[in-house]
């Protein structure tokens, strides 16, 4: 089971790296769907031998939301907009791709310095979770399109989720569902706001929304 968990972690790392280097918004959405499905499998693997009813339902919910519903909302938003790719981000794709592995290395180092008490699910989960979070934050601050920023938020949330599954094995399902519901509504509301931004400004470049100053 543990090798399978590590496989999931590797999927996360790879998708993060591709996300940093790609400009096509459609590809980004697909990558986020892959991340969502990988995260959805995690609860099954973590509960491994004693697989109860609850983890299966929970995992199904995650896969439905993160693997299908969120990407669907994003694709729908994309089809209403007149953008296909992220042009001229604040930080270029080449630089982003160099920064990615550097961030990964530093996350591995930090992870080795933060030993988890007791038996751990996977030694990879803390560094990979951190790296995913960093990738998400980086997408939010370095890209201009509002849609990419929402994706950054989702990647950030995925990172926290990956860490959470590993370190907080026994989170009450009520709380987990509440978190998922919040993220769901957040993506939904952000999608609506992006639609309005596009109608109001004829673009979704957040750097051009700058009429509000100190």
């Amino acid at each position: 089971m543990y090798t399978l968990i590590d496989m999931v972690m590797i999927v996360l790392v790879l998708t993060n790296l591709i996300l940093l280097g790609t400009s096509r918004l459609r590809t980004c959405i697909e990558l986020i769907a892959i991340q969502g499905i990988a995260l959805g499998v995690l609860p099954l693997l973590v509960h491994g031998e004693s697989l109860g009813f609850e983890p299966i339902v929970f995992s199904a919910i995650i896969i439905t939301l993160k693997g299908v519903v969120f990407p669907w909302v994003l694709v729908r938003a994309l089809s209403q907009l007149n953008v296909r790719r992220e042009v001229e981000p604040f930080v270029g794709y080449g630089v982003s791709l160099i920064l990615g592995p550097l961030a990964l290395a530093s996350c591995l180092w930090i992870g080795s310095r933060l030993p988890l008490p007791g038996e751990t699910v996977s030694t990879m989960s803390v560094p990979v979770g951190l790296f995913t979070m960093m990738a998400g934050l980086f997408l939010i601050v370095s890209r201009k399109k509002a849609l990419t920023q929402v994706m950054g938020y989702l990647v950030l949330e995925n990172g926290i989720n990956a860490m959470g599954v590993a370190i907080a094995k026994e989170q009450p399902y009520l709380v987990e569902l509440g978190i998922l519901l919040d993220v769901f509504v957040a993506v939904f509301v952000m999608g609506i706001i992006i639609f309005h931004i596009n109608r109001e400004f004829d673009h979704i470049d957040t750097d051009q929304m700058s009429s509000l100053r100190s």
């Binding site: 907080a168 989170q171 709380v175 509440g178 919040d182 509301v189 931004i197």
Partner: protein, 491 residues
């Protein structure tokens, strides 16, 4: 009864979305606010039993913040009903740039307002930190559509900033929650839960490095929402672009709810013997916020933005008070009440001024006292109250905090604090008094309508309350404030 507090607004919100008639919607809004306030009042007399295995319970701290939320919501509702009736119908002209825009459908506004009440109530009654997180994030989502009530590009920009910055901030608080779980995973603890009482019960057995990291993330996460500088960047935009009644609720009720999240973390740190760590961090963020606000309040060209920066300042004072500890905690809790009531009142009056003068620019507003006699007097009273002049409540609470600082021999910090308060006083008096005095521009005077009763009663009630709190704190209130202070390590 706790279920009723949370669920009644949710049901009312669903009703408001379904009902076609705007008049009925407003009725539902007022009725819900009144029932909610009634239930909250009842909780002061008979403290309700915990429900859901103790996940939802009203402790002293929760009761204090719940009461602020409920009281402000009731007064804001009275204002909102009149406001919505005035805003009703068709396209409107933008006050600053002159283009035409529409409002969001009123039913959606009312529904979100009620959901906002429900989520804030849930924050105050949560005893489980996971649930608390869910509730705080839900407040963001319920209030974002409120900021985008006037559908134009500036409010859209403010809403986007609010939504994204707060969501990212609160996501970091979630990481703080997970770190808390790690900190609590010690052999003695058995199965780890995020129940506040369990975590406090673990005490010094918790793992300090993880707990420190957890508090840091909680502080940064909820601090973003609370408006602690330098994480406050969404706050001035959201407060200045949303309708005044929403600004009043954001500033008076929502920021406190986020502070509650930080206070829960502080309670755990205290129990684990990390009190000095969390207190020093709170002092640091508090002082930065007050200083930052002082810089931006000077020469502020937009009076709603100025009030927003003043909120950053007062959130800083709350953090500072709790950080200083001792008697200052009592002061900080009293300050939370005073600031909420005063700032809500000021935002409502600012709404009246905005409606009459049709500009948010401080330079273009003159002679409020003559043109709008009652609003003008309330504006000046609000200025005296918010800058901490006697006999208003904020004077008392600031004095308590300063006294505690001097008692602890923090001379330099006190001097710096007073210096920053002086700068803020100068900055606010320069703009707010100039607005009140003088002669209103003739062209504006012609178009102005007389002041509406609905726009005056809510701020008047609030100003009477802050005056009373400055002169006399009822024993019931001071008892609860004392208990809260004790729970946070004060005297």
């Amino acid at each position: 009864m706790i279920f009723a507090l949370v669920l009644i607004p949710v049901i009312a919100a669903a009703l408001a979305m379904l009902i076609r008639s705007d008049v009925l919607c407003r009725g539902v809004l007022v009725l819900t606010a009144a029932v909610h306030a009634g239930l909250t009042g009842w909780a002061w007399i008979a403290r309700p039993e915990p429900v859901m295995k103790g996940w939802l319970a009203i402790d002293d701290l929760g009761l204090l913040f719940l009461s602020i939320v409920s009281l402000l919501f009731l007064t804001a509702t009275i204002y909102a009903v009149g406001y919505l009736r005035n805003e009703h119908g068709g396209e409107q002209e933008d006050m600053e740039e002159g283009f035409l825009f529409n409002n969001a459908p009123e039913a959606r506004f009312t529904g979100c307002l009620l959901m906002f009440l429900a989520t804030m109530t849930l924050v105050t009654v949560s005893r489980h930190l996971g649930l608390l997180w869910v509730a705080v994030e839900a407040t963001t989502l319920a209030s974002a559509p409120l900021i985008y009530f006037h559908r134009h590009h500036r409010s859209l920009e403010a809403t986007w900033k609010y939504l994204l910055i707060c969501s990212v901030g609160i996501a970091l608080a979630l990481l703080g929650n997970f770190f808390l779980v790690v900190a609590a995973s010690v052999p003695e603890s058995g199965s780890v839960s995020l129940m506040l009482s369990d975590l406090i019960g673990l005490g010094e057995k918790m793992q300090t490095p993880w707990l420190k990291a957890a508090f840091l993330f909680l502080l940064v996460g909820y601090g973003t929402k609370m408006g602690l500088a330098p994480l406050h960047t969404w706050l001035p935009d959201a407060h200045s672009e949303s309708p005044s009644v929403v600004s009043a609720l954001l500033s008076g009720a929502l920021l406190n709810c986020a502070f509650l999240g930080i206070l829960r973390g502080h309670q755990i740190c205290r129990a684990a013997g990390l009190e000095m760590f969390s207190r020093d961090l709170l002092i640091l963020f508090g002082l930065i916020s007050i200083g930052w606000a002082a810089v931006f309040i000077l020469n502020q060209a937009d009076y709603k933005r100025m009030l927003a920066y003043s909120s950053v300042e007062h959130m800083g004072i709350l953090a500072l008070g709790v950080g200083v500890g001792g008697g200052a905690i009592f002061g900080a809790m009293l300050h939370a009440v005073n600031h909420s009531l005063t700032k809500a009142m000021l935002f409502l009056v600012a709404g009246n001024i905005l409606a009459a003068y049709k500009t948010k620019s401080t330079a273009d507003v003159r002679g409020v006292v003559r043109a709008l006699p009652i609003s003008g007097v309330l504006w000046v009273a609000g200025f005296l109250a918010i800058t901490g002049m006697p006999p208003f409540g904020i004077f008392m609470s600031k004095l308590t905090i300063i006294k505690a600082m001097l008692d602890q021999g923090r001379g330099w910090m006190t001097a710096g604090f007073l210096g920053m308060l002086a700068v803020i006083f100068v900055g606010m008096s320069a703009t707010m008094l100039k607005m009140a005095q003088g002669r209103a521009p003739e062209m504006r005077l012609g178009e102005m309508k007389s002041e509406k009763i609905w726009s005056l009663v809510p701020p008047a009630i609030l100003s009477v309350l802050i005056l009373i709190l400055g002169l006399y704190i009822p024993p019931v209130v001071s008892e609860v404030l004392g208990d809260v202070a004790k729970a946070l390590g004060g005297e």
